[in-house]
Symmetry: C2
Subunit: 300 residues, 2 copies
């Protein structure tokens, strides 16, 4: 699995065949995204969820995505130490991935890594990412069910609204709920959610749950909510819609990657240099040259 995921990260030429071969075996896993600000306890929560999933007999994959790291494949020390209790469990696969890089970030390598874990028979795949800027929204696009983690005093409802997480969360979890202010954060969140547009009948009303993930407190309830959400997605035919949008995202990311690759190839050839000379000579304008370039990209 590690090697297959690395193929995706490095855009190896054999990737295409590999992914095509995996296709018939994928499509069964429940993709669960976990996001939250630094310090809310994402790794600890992931760890506790993995334990709870194992108790229910599930095979679990974890992709820990670090949007700020240029490194990949290796262990993020602090996180991985905390996950070490699962390291000898053959039914748990944990992998760190970097999302930054020249290959288009989360949108490029993650769907392929998910497919690898999916085809390997993982029942649940947890995609964990730090909530910084755009990345949590990208992850929400990849997941069937998005968990948003908060901690008391770190994210009250208004901050959550500002950060745009009210829209992406299917389940909200206030972790470190033994700390002061936990009740206020829960109340705040519930209030903000009640003001949103998710209160119509038939729509999923995101629950706000409390955990102390370090003690595994409340984690089973989170898992119940995750399973309930999957049932809801299925019964309302939304799972198919989400997966359709995800497939479209992936196709788009591969297409952009193909185009960037071809653009790079053109730079080393004569076509772009010729066009640049025509522009400098005033024979064509840069827009007409760009049209020509776009045509060359498709028929290289």
């Amino acid at each position: 699995m590690a090697r297959l995921i690395s193929l995706g990260e490095n855009a190896h030429p054999v990737l295409r065949e590999v992914m095509a071969a995996l296709m018939p075996h994928a499509g069964k896993a429940h993709i669960v995204g976990i996001t939250g600000a630094p310090g809310v306890g994402k790794s600890t929560s992931t760890n506790a969820l993995v334990t709870a999933l194992r108790q229910r007999g599930k095979r679990v994959g974890v992709l820990a995505i670090d949007p700020s790291s240029p490194f990949s494949g290796g262990a993020i020390l602090g996180d991985r130490i905390r996950m070490s209790e699962h390291s000898l469990d053959s039914e748990v696969y944990i992998r760190s991935m970097a999302s930054r890089g020249h290959l288009g970030g989360v949108s490029w390598a993650t769907p392929q890594a998910i497919r690898v874990l999916d085809a390997a028979g993982c029942d649940v795949i947890i995609v964990e990412t730090v909530g910084v800027g755009q990345s949590e929204v990208d992850i929400a696009g990849l997941a069937d069910t998005s968990l948003v983690l908060l901690a008391p005093g770190m994210g009250d409802g208004i901050q959550a609204a500002k950060a745009g997480i009210l829209e992406i969360g299917d389940i909200f979890v206030v972790n470190k709920a033994d700390r002061e202010g936990a009740e206020a954060t829960v109340r705040d969140l519930r209030h903000m959610i009640s003001l949103g547009d998710r209160t119509e009948p038939g729509l999923w009303r995101p629950p706000v749950l409390k955990t102390v993930a370090a003690d595994h407190d409340g984690v089973d309830e989170v898992l119940d909510a995750v399973e309930k959400h999957l049932e809801w997605l299925r019964s309302h035919n939304i799972l198919g819609q989400r997966r359709l949008r995800r497939a479209a995202d992936e196709i788009e990311a591969i297409a952009m990657q193909t185009l960037r690759q071809r653009m790079g190839d053109l730079r080393s050839g004569h076509r772009l240099a010729d066009l640049a000379q025509y522009v400098l000579d005033g024979r064509v304008d840069p827009y007409a040259a760009a049209d020509d370039l776009v045509a060359s990209l498709v028929e290289p």
Copy 2:
């Protein structure tokens, strides 16, 4: 000019015709990039250079690019106040631009703004940007002559080497040279440059100059070096090469923008949704779907 530059920033549909019409009038200006860390005195130096250029009878354009700002067109208050001594001079045009945004940043709007100023008869166009991350390298790609500003104690040679600015600078200026440590910074820089690969005969050896831009001290010498560099570019036929590369960059940026636009159009149509459904049904793999998408991008 302001309206023409805004057309470029907003990717207005009429842009193409406008740029084509400007082409025959552009290509004469000397593009001078100024970059440096926050606090080295970029705005003050730009202001002093504008004054010196006006004394030599030059028409001057200034594009102040703020890579961190989502805003554009308006004034960056502190900077623009310092520039206000030129605000009544009809031979000076000053404009702030944001580089961040959905349209591809510096690479997209700046070349077009440069063309507008160029066609308007500016002899020299100063492109000023904060040296943060990749942006100064991008600016160096846009400029005929790149000035790198440092201040004593802020950037010694080793830091400059780390930041990659030794490679992009054609002229190094240690501003605030009346402060302690200026001589050491100059010596350090000269040493680092002497270790570089620019000491071969015929290659441009970047000078390291000292200024107190707030008092206009040393600014004439900087301008002399700028003009000398232009002469060197011309006599070694490097000006043409730099402009060729710049034209290629611009064509590439327009092409990518065109493709992103078409990708957006496809999302609102049926093609991508159909392909996504085929992928979900297992009838095609995402790579084959992406190939199809790429073809649709060119023949929409």
